[in-house]
Symmetry: C2
Subunit: 143 residues, 2 copies
DNA sequence: ATGCAAATGCAAATCGTTTGCAACAAAAAA
DNA sequence: TTTTTTGTTGCAAACGATTTGCATTTGCAT
């Protein structure tokens, strides 16, 4: 990842270096996904993009999400059968707790669990490429 | 779950007790899901069902899967964005390692991980209703 | 500035799944 | 057992999410 003097990642330079063209829609979508801290789906990204440029199409959002995913800029999640939701892949790896009542997504990370996963896979003769850990829960009612 | 003298679960009696009608298509689908040890999707179940009764419809498979899921007879998985895949919910809880090359599904269980998940959720103020842990990996090439 | 490959918007197609509805079959009542 | 009630079926059409074909436009190397 190309680092700018600020310490922030310069996605555009990064993509250019990979031979990917920077177009107006791509620039806009890239800003949206890298500046949010939630987990929007394609349609939500489209909705936000249209506010910037009225004639961006949903197709382009989908195409761009796939491109950015392949390039490692973003990550795709498929929580509970719903539409794919995306997040910027800059920060360290983490997993998710989904509030089944509100749909809220809470991030967490457990090094112990991560390590145990590797051990399990190794015992089974596999190398883990990626994994998905999602907890679905409800706020504890301390009535 | 109703146990027969054999020790095996009698799903039909079980469903009847819950006021659910046992029909010919349901009986056939029930046999298919309770006798396989893989994780077929709806269409695969349909394919197998048609071999028994030529005019079972895919709609009925979908409707029955939903019914059995709600009743707790089967479990639904959504591996890697693909179609839902099902498995009989008789055995103890386990998680899955998916071979990204072959699509094979390997089952495993880690009490340590299960416990850690509960701890994490508790610390975040949540009770876990269910969870999903999927490892995606490739057979280790010990070259 | 020019040319060409690549990306866009739009509409139509695709995939997995759900639904409305008339015919039908299971369980309940007679 | 026959009738009545009520749930279930198969089929086709609708659905939501995503992908694709294609004519047009754009980025960008020359
Ligand atoms: Mn996240
Ligand atoms: Mn399993
Ligand atoms: Zn993790
Ligand atoms: Zn588990």
């Amino acid at each position: 990842m190309t680092e700018h003097t600020t310490g922030r990642v310069d996605h555009e330079a990064d993509l250019r270096k990979a031979g990917i063209r920077i177009t107006r829609p791509r620039r806009i979508i890239l800003r949206i996904v890298s500046e949010t801290d939630d987990h929007p789906d394609a349609y939500e990204i489209f909705r936000r993009a249209v506010k910037v440029d009225k004639n961006i199409s949903l197709s382009t959002v989908y195409r761009t999400m796939k491109l950015l995913e392949e390039h490692g800029t973003i990550q795709r999640h498929a929580f509970a059968g719903g539409p794919s939701r995306f997040e910027h892949a800059g920060e360290e790896h983490h997993d998710h707790l989904i509030d089944v009542e509100t749909g809220d997504v809470i991030e967490f990370r457990s090094d112990k669990i991560e390590k145990l996963q590797d051990e399990i896979a190794r015992e089974l003769g596999y190398d883990i490429l990626h994994h998905k850990l999602e907890l679905y829960g409800r706020k504890r009612r301390s009535a």
